[in-house]
Symmetry: C2
């Protein structure tokens, strides 16, 4: 299959937000639609922790993207009218430079020698791609989950280059509950003897730790309500359990097992550790000393905050906090509290609920 992925290599050093630098990192990205003559129809999309830049299919790559039902001709992010850019996060492993990439200084993989990653670095890397594409001012930045915080970092550091902001199931900073969950996921990977302090062979990763971390992810990405309806106390049909009482007895256990096995191996464990940690570190209050001061640094004409009432990782109070903060500096702010049952993952799987909000947002943009 042909690839729609393009890549941009930074000319020279990329200075990291906390400390250290990367020598000429590469950033993978995809685009959809065309930049207009006025160059004012560009949208930048930040993904969550695990997806690539392949947010939607295109003629060059027909495989479905992670937000396939949202992006395209006649869809809420209408590529007949807009020029959409999605960058694989710096630190990830789908074409952008990250801990799994070769350090040009040593000829070896960075592994844990990769400098501490922050979402400010993810934002800054995307800023370089946007500039490379000749876009001086973005029509809208959209960020989903972790990407919502990357998007906030972008708006905070380049307030004059973004007109509108859409936050999807994200937050101004992580709550201790979410930090605890992610910290435990990282510990699961680090506790797997095969992790070898980050020096695992690429073909022999800490798959056990990854599987455990993914299962905890699934538990927190979905909702208890969904599973009660979906599985109840249905028994697994996997008869391997007869031999071992602790193997999946209930359908919910088999479901987690199947999903975790699918994901593990698809994402580099060190990259996961870095991006997960970056999600904990971001804090809007670091811009001025308080959330209120942070919001005051934004210059936005229009904002939309969409969140889900069953989300336990980025709970509804955090959506309200964001919307209330945006409203202090931007009168055209809308909060959409959705009643989706599938928790944090709703923005990926309950498109019927999310599409109307995104659609309405772009339809009500008056240029």
């Amino acid at each position: 299959m042909s690839s729609a992925r393009k890549s941009f290599t930074v000319d020279g050093d990329f200075r990291m937000h906390r400390a250290g630098h990367l020598e000429s990192p590469t950033l993978a990205y995809e685009t959809w639609g065309e930049l207009n003559a006025a160059k004012d129809n560009a949208i930048l999309l930040f993904s969550g922790l695990s997806p690539s830049a392949h947010a939607a299919s295109s003629e060059l790559d027909m495989s479905p993207g992670w937000w396939e039902d949202m992006i395209g001709s006649g869809l809420p992010i209408d590529t007949d009218n807009y020029y959409l850019i999605c960058v694989n996060s710096l630190g990830s492993c789908f074409g952008s430079t990250g801990p799994a990439s070769i350090d040009p200084q040593t000829g070896e993989r960075y592994r844990l020698k990769f400098p501490v990653l922050t979402l400010e670095d993810v934002a800054e890397a995307a800023f370089l791609v946007v500039n490379h594409l000749g876009v001086k001012c973005l029509h809208t930045v959209i960020g989903c989950s972790m990407g919502g915080m990357s998007g906030l970092a972008y708006c905070l550091r380049h307030p004059d280059t973004v007109r509108r902001y859409v936050s999807i199931s994200s937050a101004a900073r992580a709550l201790p509950f979410s930090i605890a969950v992610r910290s435990l996921q990282r510990e699961m990977i680090r506790s797997d003897p095969k992790w070898m302090k980050g020096n695992y062979e690429p073909g022999d990763p800490p798959i056990t730790g990854q599987r455990l971390a993914r299962k905890l992810g699934m538990i927190t990405y979905r909702s208890a309500e969904e599973w009660a309806l979906r599985f109840g106390r249905e028994r697994s049909t996997d008869h391997a359990r007869i031999e071992d009482q602790f193997v999946a007895e209930f359908s919910v256990e088999s479901y987690l097992e199947n999903r975790a096995n699918k994901f593990s191996g698809a994402f580099d464990p060190n990259c996961y550790l870095y991006l997960s940690h970056a999600s904990d570190l971001f804090d809007l209050a670091e811009y001025g000393g308080s959330l209120a001061a942070g919001f005051k640094r934004l210059k936005l004409d229009k904002t939309l905050v969409v969140g889900v009432r069953t989300d336990i990782l980025f709970p509804i109070q955090q959506q309200r906090e964001l919307a209330e903060g945006f409203a202090t500096v931007c009168s055209d702010t809308r909060l959409a509290e959705l009643d989706c049952i599938r928790g944090h993952d709703s923005f990926l799987v309950d498109m019927d609920a999310f599409r109307p909000e995104i659609c309405e947002f772009f339809e009500s943009c008056c240029d």
Copy 2:
């Protein structure tokens, strides 16, 4: 320190609910107060998964018990008036026979040769102790967390021997969310190479897996709201982190680390696996084919259901389900929905909220 722990050894075989049997198992228990002449003042208390029978201090053992502030002279479970019995759950490791005990058939520890454990077995073992103590009819059964389901099993199997029932942060059966959490905790232990399919040396248990499982426990026993208030984004003062970016950066991470290290090693991992699995298996609907039919088998004069709105493991809907079910067969049923912030653990740590409910329950008992 002297011990208040007594023990009772079953004379002959104990047949397990699912399959298999135990040869003359021992049951550890403690009692407080005196059985009156009419023998109608006995209360049986079922603990959660991890505590011993030491629910409160006494002259024989002054160390604080796990429900210290609830039990004693002048306290809600008033040992001046009542005779309280607490049995260490069958399958546990604090004096009662469990997977860590010696199998008299082989002279070796049972380990995974211990038969599948259910809460029906926990209830049946307690029933033998109650009979041994000369009590034909219990004034009240109280069950906390997992113990609430053990208590239900007791009432279902011996309906004519229990007059009143108090359920504390428990349920009629586990939801798939709770099953998923416990299944993942078990997998963490089983994935630790030191578990060795249950054949670890007692002095060298799978401590890494236990620590991970305990941390996930803490995350689900407490509430996001509590941690937001308690920790916010406070940084850890543990400066070891400077050497490793993935070591505890936030206070919530240090807190989990300290708590998990305290617990791990105190509980036998195989016993934990068996009791955790038993918690998943219990289902009131197995008594007659539906929850409604299960409730109909109960013969209770008075019930109380206490639950907490921030509990995610035994959520408030399950408390309502219990109370509604009890009300179909027992007109004197009360549901207390508490606004405690500390989630499932509130019944152990927020005694000011729980004491009045238990107090009122016993004060309103008319004999």
